[in-house]
Symmetry: C2
Subunit: 109 residues, 2 copies
């Protein structure tokens, strides 16, 4: 995929993670694994953790510590009302952009 996907993920990865969290709460390692499973093969772990810190600071998610059978305790993130609103805004923005691009692609065939 090269470097294009890296830049394209800016701004969208946040929405992707929030969308995942809107289905069910999850912790960092789990989210990274999920992203890789859905095709984002070379997402860096550090990227996801940094993103989680960011959306926590923005107040879009709630955090709970759960003990783990393996390794250090997990920080489980769940989306809150503000995060839901942000996610809806994200879908609107995405819809706009995707619409423009599909239109361009259609013309260029």
């Amino acid at each position: 995929m090269g470097k294009q996907i890296t830049e394209m993920l800016k701004g969208t990865l946040e929405g992707i993670v929030l969308a995942i969290l809107s289905e069910q709460p999850a912790y960092g390692y789990e989210i990274t694994a999920g992203l890789r499973g859905m095709g984002f093969a070379d997402i860096a772990e550090g990227t996801v953790y940094a993103l989680l810190v960011r959306i926590e600071l923005k107040g879009l998610v709630d955090v709970e510590k759960h003990p783990s059978e393996k390794g250090p305790p997990r920080k489980v993130y769940s989306i809150n009302a503000q995060g839901q609103a942000y996610l809806e805004e994200f879908w609107r923005t995405w819809g706009f952009l995707a619409g423009r691009l599909e239109h361009l692609r259609g013309e260029g065939n």
Copy 2:
């Protein structure tokens, strides 16, 4: 639209401009006006010029100077073979990302 679109444009704006150029050659001012016309209302002029310099340095476009009836001469950009290849790669990457996101949006309804 807020700040979300700003980050989302990273990585896509380059493809958008190349797609525009693949229809017909154009110059900076014209491209900016076109983008605004298609809904990207607050694209900054400086952003477009910087992007054009970048894709020129990458060798994705050819440049010709044309005198203008008004103001300084226009730098008319046209996409070349390398740019076409880059654009096709862009559409593949975009298609992948859009597919994942549509899937996520479908689940979250």
